[in-house]
């Protein structure tokens, strides 16, 4: 049986993590092809419902990547995102899916290496946790579906 390839959605703030993804590409860094990046105007625009719906669609893991504390382009968007992630983690624990499948990371625009590290770290974590019970194609096939390699 092929090794489980998690499907992970990364909601990335355009002012930091999304720019860091570009940088990782320019630096020719290799990182996990399992992540799907969604550009956000600010990590603080993430909502509880969007996170739960993403899991309902069958992804194995989700993370939000925002600026370092004090660096948010909109002052406190990242602080709000962190609180919402904590609230949704609690819901995920309560309903049995497990809060570990969701995380928040600080990824500044200048740190392409951190972007790659976080992508790899989260992929490894979700690989350990195994496929989400909501993932209907459990032996997820990231490469074939266009997971990108920088």
């Amino acid at each position: 049986m092929p090794e489980f390839e998690p499907k992970i959605v990364a909601f990335c703030c355009r002012y930091c993590a999304y720019t860091a993804a570009d940088l990782a590409g320019s630096m020719r860094l290799q990182y996990s092809p399992n992540i799907r990046v969604v550009e956000m105007p600010c990590s603080g625009t993430i909502e509880h419902g969007v996170l739960l719906n993403t899991f309902e669609k069958g992804v194995d893991g989700v993370y939000i990547a925002g600026c370092n504390l004090g660096d948010c382009h909109f002052l406190k968007g990242n602080v709000r995102a962190i609180k919402r992630v904590a609230a949704v983690k609690k819901i995920l624990d309560e309903i049995g899916l497990g809060g570990d499948r969701l995380e928040f990371f600080h990824v500044p625009a200048s740190e392409g290496t951190k972007f790659a590290k976080v992508a790899n770290e989260m992929t490894e974590r979700i690989r350990q946790l195994g496929p989400s019970p909501l993932n209907k194609s459990a032996a997820g096939n990231a490469q074939k579906e266009g997971g990108q390699t920088a």
């Binding site: 909502e47 419902g49 739960l52 719906n53 309903i95």
Partner: protein, 224 residues
């Protein structure tokens, strides 16, 4: 506004455990403002329930609808078509909304997703405080706009009591003594003399005493 809070997910899940299709009904009134039962909270609860039930191998079809208000018959009439094939209705309104749904949809299992707490308002984003005890005969004009019925732990009419210490209530040092607030405000307004008038015992017949209350405006009633 009426302030409510969502019940624990496991308690709501328990109420609809044997249902296959459930309608989650939000309310765009007070519970939207106190972030307990608006459109967003309704979608989140329905989503959480669907996921929980898939994990339990007991899939749930959860649909959602948010009424302008659940405490007016005309606004819940729009649910008539949606409730037909559901096994239960989960209301994310205050206790009033739950009762309106239960009364209209007599053959449906209607359950509350919220605990209705009090009437009050927000102090900062995400924090709500009780401000009025619905006593039925407001006396705020005598108390500087600060309600002693609900904000004084003992509902004293001629306060403060002997437990008032450094502006705090003896019940809990995190609670401001309402009578200290009343005194300070009346003093600032130059109206301390008004506080010297002894308040007679309150007429509680205007309050909960004597069963549920009714308010009637004959002039706006529509003749059938």
């Amino acid at each position: 506004m009426i302030v409510a809070q969502q019940k624990p997910i496991k308690d709501i899940a328990q109420m609809i455990n044997d249902c296959k299709k459930v309608l989650f009904v939000g309310c765009a009134g007070c519970v939207t403002v106190c972030l307990a039962g608006g459109e967003k909270e309704t979608a989140v609860l329905a989503s959480a329930m669907r996921i929980k039930r898939i994990l339990e191998n007991n899939p749930l079809e959860a649909i959602t609808y948010t009424c302008t208000r659940q405490c007016d018959p005309e606004y819940i009439a729009s649910l008539d078509n949606q409730v037909k094939d559901v096994d239960a209705i989960v209301s994310l309104a205050c206790g009033v909304g739950v009762q309106y749904l239960a009364e209209r949809f007599k053959d449906k299992w209607v359950v509350p997703a919220l605990d209705t707490k009090f009437i009050g308002g927000s102090t900062v984003h995400g924090v709500w405080e009780e401000k009025c005890g619905l006593c039925g005969e407001c006396i705020l004009h005598r108390t500087g706009g600060i309600c002693p019925i609900i904000r004084c732990s003992k509902s004293i009419l001629n306060g403060p009591c002997g437990g008032s210490q450094y502006g705090k209530c003896e019940v809990n040092k995190d609670i401001d003594c309402a009578w200290q607030l009343i005194y300070d405000r009346m003093k600032a307004l130059g109206k301390l003399d008004k506080l010297m008038e002894i308040q007679p015992p309150k007429d509680w017949s205007k309050s909960r005493d004597g069963g549920p209350r009714k308010a009637i405006r004959e002039d706006v009633m529509i003749d059938e």
